[in-house]
Subunit: 222 residues, 2 copies
């Protein structure tokens, strides 16, 4: 059972604590704000009030026993950097830190953060791509110019099986799954992992993987 | 050429404006803060100071001519809701709004936001999953229990071609690409879109798609 430490319970820290706790992890949380700590104490294993820039506050709370610590302090950039240094000095194997700007991220890396995450920038970049794409409904960039995208099933594929459609040969993208409307319109779409003999239906959306230009061509050939 | 309107240039709005402008879109920006507007004016097509809760400020700035508007106001929840209403009343076809909590998101949907994004929560949920996964280095959840993940190439696959390895038949996951170390260690890994005759090397990381349990099994069989 993994023990994850979280420093800072702002929106990011709270969502993270909640997700981890829901999945059964042991979560240790520290925050300067008493009310936040009280609110969070019913969701996590242990919530403690304290200042993470003080190494003693971290050891009193037991952070040295965590496998991973996430420094989820945002606008208090100095605090985020000092908390990261404290965690590495405590010998914590993996320290993840949230950054609110590229500069902040560079500094965190230099002081020892193993992983830096940029929640606002990541979501904004992904949104920019899906707003500009001609048809894809949503786009996850996997690496430069390569994505997983959800596109409306093109006209010429309707009633063909995936094998007959030969999407990969013709378009150079791999169909991963089909998102099909549920019989009950109040339910979300069902996800059907792609199989050669799945037949594509009108209104289906296809989850595809490939180079962006090829995804665009497929979406465009409607 | 798409014209995208952005309301609010906090971290999310600024990253979004930058990404869109970089990709050649026409970006119109409004923010209450004069300095922010001045800073952003060199990155976007037009940056205007104004209060988005006042419909007149939006029409003076030309927002009614946007295909899509993104309401990127966060902690000023009331402002975010009012700006969203104003956009829908201006007849803007697609309004995307950022939410800072589930409650905020529900209200935005009710007042007409076509798409609601949760930058902190999305990134936190994704991080929670990758922190708890046994081996995957990173995990993108595509839908409930189905993901794209990056895993270390298991021992038994080394020196086999992808076709010989028959990963899909044996493990039920699809290999999408190989991330291979670059010759120059200062460069990031190269991304090789998967092909039957690619031979897997030691230190390769595989980008795979499938049901979480099957991804875990593959990562575990090391
Ligand atoms: N030195 C510190 N020690 C402990 N907790 C801290 C410290 N500095 C800030 N915090 C806490 O971290 C939390 C998040 O910090 P802050 O609000 O500065 O970041 P944010 O980026 O605005 O947060 P978010 O966007 O995740 O809501 C707050 O609850 C705050 O009390
Ligand atoms: N009514 C309004 N009209 C125009 N701009 C506004 C209005 N209300 C807030 N803003 C601007 O929106 C921007 C972002 O808002 P705010 O700081 O409240 O959200 P945030 O979630 O903390 O931002 P982020 O996390 O994206 O940095 C600020 O630059 C602010 O000046």
């Amino acid at each position: 059972m993994k023990r994850i430490g979280i420093i800072g319970a702002g929106r990011f820290g709270q969502s993270l604590a909640g997700s981890l706790a829901e999945k059964g992890a042991e979560v240790l949380l520290i925050d300067q704000n008493r009310e936040t700590v009280q609110e969070m104490s019913e969701y996590v294993t242990k919530a403690v009030q304290g200042d993470a820039t003080n190494p003693r506050a971290l050891t009193d709370a037991g952070f040295q026993d965590c496998d991973t610590v996430v420094v989820a302090i945002g606008s208090n950039v100095e605090g985020s950097i000092m908390a990261t240094v404290n965690c590495k000095e405590l010998g914590i194997p993996t320290v993840v830190a949230k950054a609110v700007s590229d500069m902040h991220g560079k500094v965190l890396k230099r002081v020892g953060a193993d992983i830096v995450v940029y929640p606002n920038k990541d979501r904004a970049t992904r949104l920019a791509r899906s707003l500009l794409a001609r048809n894809p409904i949503d786009l996850f960039e996997i690496a430069d110019g390569v994505s997983v995208a959800e596109v409306a099933a093109p006209e010429f594929l309707i009633d063909k099986t995936l094998a007959e459609a030969a999407v990969r040969q013709k378009y150079g993208v791999t169909v991963l799954a089909i998102r099909r409307l549920a019989d009950d319109p109040r339910l979300p779409r069902q996800l059907i992992i792609a199989n050669g003999d799945d037949k594509i239906q009108r209104e289906d959306r296809l989850l595809v993987f490939g180079v962006d230009k090829k995804i665009d061509d497929l979406a465009h050939d409607n």
